[in-house]
């Protein structure tokens, strides 16, 4: 949570006076399935990047470079639109075990 302000410090009418404050809210913790990207298969066609509802496909210079797990909700849309099946969905639990 952002630091709580006193009522008289808040902008009138619930106006949010800074853009993109939602970036402080990391939705990656919602994830049940994790997209795993296989760079060797990827053709950087950008279909996953275009569709990802959470802007979590990372690109550089017109090429895909990875997935932003801070925000990725694990919906699997990227895997489903990939024409060359370069993304697999794996259960998050697998990575919990690995981390242990």
């Amino acid at each position: 949570m952002a630091d709580l302000k006193k009522w008289h410090e808040l902008p009138i009418g619930g106006v949010i006076d800074k853009p993109a404050t939602a970036l402080a809210y990391k939705t990656g913790s919602w994830r049940v399935m994790r997209p795993i990207w296989h760079e060797d298969k990827c053709t950087s066609c950008m279909m996953c990047w275009l569709h990802c509802p959470d802007n979590s496909i990372v690109v550089k210079g017109g090429k895909m470079t990875g997935i932003d797990y801070e925000y990725c909700k694990g919906c699997g849309v990227c895997a489903s639109v990939c024409p060359v099946k370069a993304i697999d969905m794996e259960p998050e639990t697998k990575f919990l075990e690995e981390a242990e």
Binding site: A22, Y25, D68, S80
Partner: protein, 325 residues
């Protein structure tokens, strides 16, 4: 422009430039943010700054939970029923300030209103009609998920027959909502001074080309985007894109545009799939499909989409080079 994805990906390498950011609370796999981001990228790519207005609904509620906002462009929300009125006021203020020389800006501004189907077909229809009739220069994007989803799946004027909703459930007596969808594109197109089109997230290039056309159209424009709610369509989280492709292939959601009364079908599939295929992929039709009278509803729908397609072909032929204004 003819959208070049690689070029867009370079331009929006920093995702915070898109206009809608990460950190919003729409369900995983929801199509509403896809609908929004594709439109915003096209507008910015064309060199416009964008002001966004939102009607109450999932896209609005889930992107603006205080003190968070997932918008990196100027954004205004007023109420459920009046996003078209709100954005037309903003657009008028912009024009007035410009006329008096009080705005020194390099980039022209485009005004985009997003509304759900409840906020567009139903409660916001009057505001939309007024704004289009007055001829404001704005783009209205309907993200159509065929129900009042933010409040838990109530029937709207856009809900198709046989789809399960809490207010028109498929029960012992009735196979859900009996009425067909309201034809919103025809309603908007009937204002004549307008560019009106259908689109969907499963055909992104078609959609983005239409956004470009709409933004460059002088005056009001409207795009109805079929935008699945994975939650209440009861489809897997990864299915929003594939289901809308099927919607196009089954004539459920024909892709076309009407520019000042002139019809053009923008995608003519070489072969069609039966409407049953589209219904069977979605849990919201499961209760319907298990009823003894399911075939009756399905054939009614099939008959409707077939006739509508023939009608569209005929309208395309009849209105060629005959704009209403």
């Amino acid at each position: 422009m003819a959208v070049n994805l690689k070029q867009l990906a370079v331009e929006f390498e920093d995702p915070n430039k898109i206009g809608i950011t990460s950190g919003h609370r729409l369900c995983p796999g929801c199509a509403a943010p896809m609908t929004a981001k594709m439109a915003l990228m096209v507008a910015k790519h064309l060199g416009y700054d964008v002001v966004v207005g939102l009607a109450t609904g999932c896209l609005e509620v889930s992107t603006t939970i205080f003190p968070y906002s997932a918008w990196s462009v100027p954004y205004i929300h007023n109420a459920f029923e009046n996003v078209a009125a709100t954005i037309s006021g903003v657009e008028t203020a912009y024009r007035a300030l410009k006329k008096r020389g009080k705005l020194k800006r390099e980039k022209p501004i485009k005004f985009i209103a997003f509304g759900g189907d409840g906020g567009t077909y139903d409660i916001g229809l009057q505001a939309l009609s007024g704004a289009v009739e007055r001829g404001h220069d704005f783009l209205y994007i309907l993200y159509d998920n065929e129900g009042y989803m933010n409040t838990g799946n109530q029937r709207s004027g856009s809900t198709p027959p046989g789809s399960y909703t809490t207010t028109a459930p498929v029960g012992k007596k009735l196979p859900g909502k009996p009425q067909l969808k309201k034809n919103i594109v025809e309603i908007v197109a009937a204002h004549e001074n307008v560019y009106a089109a259908t689109a969907t997230v499963g055909e992104p290039i078609d959609y983005m080309n239409k956004v470009e056309k709409a933004l460059n159209f002088e005056g009001p424009s409207f795009i109805a985007v079929l935008s699945p709610c994975v939650r209440f369509w009861r489809i897997p989280n990864d299915a929003a894109v594939s289901i809308t492709k099927l919607a196009v292939q089954s004539k459920y959601w024909p892709l076309y545009e009407v520019e000042k009364g002139v019809y053009r079908i923008t995608k003519k599939p070489r072969s069609f799939k039966p409407i049953r295929d589209f219904l069977e992929q979605q849990g919201r039709f499961r209760a319907l499909l298990s009823r003894p009278d399911a075939d009756k509803v399905i054939s009614m729908l099939q008959d409707y989409v077939d006739k509508r397609w023939e009608r569209l072909l005929a309208l395309e032929e009849a209105t060629k080079d005959k704009p209403a204004r």
